[in-house]
Symmetry: C2
Subunit: 406 residues, 2 copies
């Protein structure tokens, strides 16, 4: 008898029919003799609807009250799912995050799991109950409701799998797994059977929104093997785990991220330490800078370009707008009409010619590269946003055509 | 500085506009220098909508999971109300039933408050926060969500007022107070300034659904003075408290209850103990019998008539249908087309001629009385349902006309 953790996203439980589909998956797993702990998100658009309700009343509501509001979403989906399982004739109990033992930091809206004490889950499993846990939430030291932030249900599931040493942690979504590119945009994209944690992290942070990044980091840290699969088709999905040298693909996927804004600070005096001051100022305000490009100094000044997430655009403008004079720079400009396209592959580090092939493919498609960033397992280029889908396609053709070798 | 408990029903917070109306009432009370604890029900039809959702999935869902589902309703209204108060610029915190200290029995769906430990409420009041508490709910010894049953938010409010020795407990509803009769049916009905707990209990149980009965019992037990008033008109409402002899009205109100079914068991052998066996059988199945009428024995048999609440009609039929033979009775018949009309008044016991006036008024209106029941503070008659509104009107005219004396 194994312990299986299954996580179902909001679209998997969006209506009564889908709730029963999920109940069927769960009870089949249970009937195979397993202990089953299920983590469930709020139904469909519930969270967005609750946010709308809040905005109507107070767009600047405190995060504490927002969390009090939002945690009701999973409470509803968890109890409804339990009722469906009761209907199918199986023993089941739903638990709220705090009942399941999720103790978090006090950062309402983006709390971190400090501790998970699953005494109640063990107790219910001992009674051979199927246990449904509300994802995305916990309780802080003030005994107040907290949420883990968007995608936090993945993290809830991985935390349970890690602490309870589950045999498997299945993340059910509305896609069949992790693909070599977005299958809606690239018809030839194919599903990967296996991907490493690091590749998954790069893909997740690069806009392939299959798994929440924090959950992958936690899975890597505690060596929890994940499976990403569809609750609708129920085909085998993609396994996320450590991969050995032999298994490493040169390129595992092409990702696109349009949540990017490019900034350029023009005419920064060419003195040591100025770039550092800019980026430490942004860092102190929780703004992550991604790609950085610094021009060669000319006439005693240089230009510094960098990218931030689009939702940090306004804050970045505000912070640096005031700072231009202090720096002695001449102006600051930004452009949101950009996209970052990335080629990810764990085997890349031992094949330096992949970068050359990226540039060649983009050049052949007449796509201009604004900025470049590389790591051991990825190459990212910043390009015009309207060319992003084309770029993904030509790169996918390049690296996933039958005759590709690196 | 006083401590005021204010309870707002679902219709008082049904939409954003009404939430702000309520927030205005609360913050005005706070600005007068009071500590304010607010108990709130789920918005508008939320609870009914959640019940519908549950029924779609499993009409026989366990009560535990129903409570898990339903408690989300007040969580939503409490946090939204807190956000509105934040918007008005006042310090506020919302608390779930268990956070506020409501410890209940384990009877999901109709739990009783075993204990209320309002440490957290005191703590928040010490910080001069307005405290919003979700009504209708608590936590049992298993640390599971429970609900107090319909109308339970009234009980939550009275419990807080009792335990914290509040100076006032205001129950805001969509009516302006307690009336001498239903003002929608009797245009001359007038609002009472004061009513005793006992009269209120009779009126509540007789279908004047202003206050939940359990809450009135608790208010009486702990001597909590209640005020029933409208959140919309904000006029002074009706005070519910002990009244002294001088204040006692001969008749304080006329109530109608159509949630009644009349049963008659025909041809019961005239032997001692048979009636007892019938009613103890019903009692053992949690069916309350209200009015009982036993015919004079004839030919060794008698007929027994009694009333139960309409929603117990099917269960009563089933229980007694099987029992007729054992009893040796000939048949059982029931009639749901009945209504109970009651005249309630604390001063009634010292004025025996009120009963005579009730019968006279009904006789003059050509209304036949099927059964009669009296207590120290009320006279109830069972009549045909279609005559009930007429009966209320003629009785109201009788006892509330300017020239009435008893």
């Amino acid at each position: 008898m194994g312990l299986i953790v299954q996580k179902f996203g909001g679209s998997s439980v969006a209506n009564a029919e889908r709730v029963f589909n999920v109940a069927d998956i769960i009870t089949k797993t249970y009937q195979e003799g397993n202990n089953v702990v299920v983590v469930v998100s709020a139904q469909g658009d519930t969270t967005d609807d609750l946010i709308e309700k809040a905005k109507e009343i107070n767009p600047k509501a405190s995060k504490r009250e927002m969390d009090m509001l939002l945690t009701s979403g999973e409470q509803i989906s968890a109890s409804l799912l339990a009722m469906a399982i009761e209907k199918l004739g199986f023993p089941v109990v739903s638990l709220l995050g705090w009942q399941a033992g999720f103790q978090t930091s006090s950062a309402y809206g983006s709390a971190r799991i400090n501790n998970l004490v699953p005494d109640r889950i063990y107790k219910e499993l001992d009674k051979r109950n199927i246990v449904i846990v509300t994802g995305f939430q916990g309780i802080n030291k003030y005994r107040d409701m907290t949420t883990l932030g968007r995608g936090g249900s993945d993290t809830s599931a991985v935390a349970i799998a890690a602490v309870m040493h589950a045999d498997r942690c299945q993340i059910f979504t509305d896609v069949e797994g992790v693909f070599t590119a977005d299958p809606r945009k690239v018809p030839t994209a194919r599903k990967l059977d296996v991907i490493s944690y690091d590749e998954m992290l790069e893909l997740a942070s690069l806009g392939a929104q299959v798994l929440n990044n924090r959950s992958v980091e936690m899975a890597k840290k505690y060596n929890v093997e994940l499976e990403v699969l569809s609750s609708l088709t129920r085909k085998p999905g993609t396994i996320v785990r450590e991969v050995n040298e032999m298994e490493k693909l040169n390129v595992s996927g092409i990702a696109k991220d349009t949540n990017v804004a490019q900034f350029s600070i023009i005419g920064v005096p060419d003195r040591p330490g100025l770039a550092f001051r800019i980026f430490s100022k942004l860092g102190a305000n929780d703004i992550n800078v991604d790609i950085i490009l610094q021009s060669i100094g000319r006439n005693g000044t240089k230009d510094i370009s960098f990218t931030v997430a689009s939702n940090n655009r306004a804050a970045t403008s505000e912070l640096l707008g005031d700072y231009i004079e202090t720096l002695g720079a001449s102006s600051i400009i930004y452009d949101e009409n950009v996209a970052k396209v990335s080629v990810v592959g764990a085997g890349m580090e031992s094949h330096p010619n992949i970068a050359a092939q990226v540039f060649e493919a983009l050049y052949n498609a007449n796509i201009n590269i604004r900025m470049i960033s590389t790591s051991e397992i990825k190459i990212s280029v910043l390009i015009d946003q309207e060319l992003a889908d084309l770029a993904v396609r030509v790169l996918h053709d390049k690296f996933f055509s039958p005759d590709f070798t690196a």
